[in-house]
């Protein structure tokens, strides 16, 4: 493979990772959703580029699904939910911006260190795709842990799933059926989340998940 092709694959995959870190940095819900949509677009570009490089046309379908479902439908729906819940002006209190970023960077370093020896023999594109994919998955988890707003946690889950797709494109021979079913289950999960968020809102008058902890018997000081 010529270096330029590799460089462009690197560019798109790293773009997904950078946008994952940007998700951690945002503290407004609308900005979080917009960055998530951008991440889905970059992901679909990355997958599309892989399909050209690998000569695998079914990856094009994956890219298309990612673009339509996660680049357009889910962000639009999330914007509507946020508007209906009337939380689109809220500034979310992140645990601590700097600390979260440092933790995120540590996770990126960790995943690179982990993946590097495991797939040493694989070709460089697959190797870096795995490293970035693991990092994106871990950053999605971090986003879900550090945020208190249910909508942001949904975005964290969805960006975690972006990481899975990135890993799947690096591994050759992922059947299209798996892709379609994953995309479908994500859409179903999104609908379930949507209903769930509205139920939380109805019950507790807020989408701050810390309120739920009272019902687990873990009363916190700052409530």
């Amino acid at each position: 493979m010529s270096p330029l092709w590799f460089d462009i694959a690197h560019l798109f995959a790293a773009g997904v990772l950078v946008l994952s870190l940007m998700l951690l940095y945002q503290d407004r819900i609308t900005a979080v959703i917009n960055v998530f949509a951008l991440q889905a677009v970059v992901l679909s570009l990355s997958v599309g580029w892989q399909s050209i490089v690998q000569g695998a046309p079914h990856l094009l379908a994956t890219a298309f699904i990612a673009l339509i479902a996660k680049g357009i439908i889910i962000p639009t729906a999330l914007h509507r939910i946020v508007r209906k819940l009337d939380v689109h002006r809220e500034v979310e209190r992140v645990v601590s911006g700097g600390l979260t970023m440092l933790a995120g960077l540590a996770l990126v370093a960790l995943s690179i260190l982990l993946v590097q020896p495991v797939v040493e023999t694989a070709d460089p594109v697959a190797r870096e795709d795995f490293a970035f994919a693991l990092a994106v998955v871990l950053l999605g988890l971090l986003l879900m842990i550090t945020r208190r707003n249910a909508v942001t946690q949904v975005v964290g889950f969805m960006s975690l799933e972006n990481g899975l797709i990135l890993a799947a494109t690096g591994a050759r021979g992922m059947p299209l059926v798996v892709e379609v079913s994953v995309a479908f289950s994500v859409l179903i999960a999104f609908i379930v989340f949507g209903v769930f968020v509205f139920r939380i809102r109805e019950r507790f008058d807020t989408v701050d998940v810390n309120v739920l902890e009272r019902f687990r018997g873990e009363r916190r000081e700052h409530l």
Partner: protein, 319 residues
């Protein structure tokens, strides 16, 4: 004979940065004023200001020590040396072996140290406040700056600015995410270090928001002129650093010292500076000044981007 020419070329660079620094500052002020629908001062106003300050009497507080009197010259000298070392119109000049990225960072650190000491010397509340804030920003920006230099050095294989510029201008480096992230981080660090708008307002005299201005509040006359000139030089330094690392086209590379190559180098360098001097105020007018407590998040993002640049370099090329 050859040595004389090389020395002359190096001195031309050192002289050029100090000669155009006020003009570059004048352009940014003019553009900013025009964007705010004001007429703005003429482009040569910074030269006139420096001239006026040089001829004014120096008023020194009675309890000022020698640190207060010497600091402006130290600040100016360190900044001038750093700005004169960064390759501008040609690589491989006489002193370019010493134009190391880490050395430039260290020189700027020296200048900042002297200025912060001077801010605290007289013992006014403002000076101390300014010094403390300046040190807070520096403690965030300097690690980011070092990581940027590591990211660039890992790709180029050297920290010598002249060699990096020569390598990057060949275009063999290709598309690099690491370089993009490093550029982003360098812009944020440059904004923080030059006291530009999201971090500090260079034109403010509102005490709550002052950082740089608070430190130099007690200065007057030629001392103030030295500090102002150093601030203008620092802006040119960051502009030429960005130009040399990320847009090295047009530079006279590899000891090509024909008049044509050098002429192209000088013209493109001045053009790049003018473009940056127009872009900076445009970016500045689109954002609002940040609260002091938001600085760590903003400058920390530069650190994060630079660290990511280093990591990504490792992924793409292995350890």
């Amino acid at each position: 004979m050859a040595l004389t020419v090389e020395l002359a070329l190096q001195l031309l660079q050192i002289g050029m940065v100090v000669a155009i620094a006020p003009l570059i500052m004048g352009i940014t002020r003019k553009v900013r004023a025009r964007l705010l629908r004001r007429r703005g001062p003429p482009l040569v106003q910074p030269y006139l200001d420096l001239w006026k300050l040089m001829h004014k009497e120096v008023v020194v507080a009675p309890n000022a020590s020698w640190v207060y009197r010497r600091a402006p010259y130290v600040v100016f000298a360190a900044t001038w040396v750093a700005a004169g070392l960064v390759p501008t119109y040609a690589t491989g000049l006489l002193f370019s072996w010493s134009a190391d990225l880490i050395a430039v960072i260290a020189l700027l650190g020296t200048a900042r140290f002297a200025l912060a000491l001077a801010g605290m010397d007289v013992g006014t509340a403002f000076g101390g406040l300014g010094s403390s804030r300046e040190m807070m920003i520096a403690s965030l920006a300097e690690p980011a700056m070092l990581l940027i230099s590591f990211a660039v050095a890992l790709i180029a294989g050297t920290t010598q600015l002249s060699a990096i510029a020569a390598l990057f201008s060949t275009g063999d480096v290709g598309v690099r995410v690491s370089l993009g992230l490093a550029l982003l981080a360098l812009i944020v660090v440059g904004i923080a270090e030059n006291a530009r708008i999201p971090i500090d307002n260079p034109a403010t005299h509102l005490e709550l928001t002052m950082v740089h201005e608070a430190m130099i509040l007690e200065y007057s006359g030629r001392h103030l002129a030295m500090i102002e000139a150093a601030a203008q030089l620092k802006l040119v330094l960051y502009f030429s650093l960005v130009a040399c690392l990320f847009a090295p086209f047009g530079m006279a590379v590899g000891g090509d010292q024909s008049a044509l190559a050098l002429g192209i180098g000088i013209v493109t360098f001045l053009g790049k500076l003018a473009v940056f001097a127009v872009l900076l105020p445009i970016a500045e007018t689109t954002v609002a000044k940040m609260r002091v407590f938001r600085y760590p998040a903003f400058v920390g993002s530069a650190f994060a981007a630079a660290a990511l640049a280093v990591f990504l370099r490792f992924v793409s090329r292995g350890f």
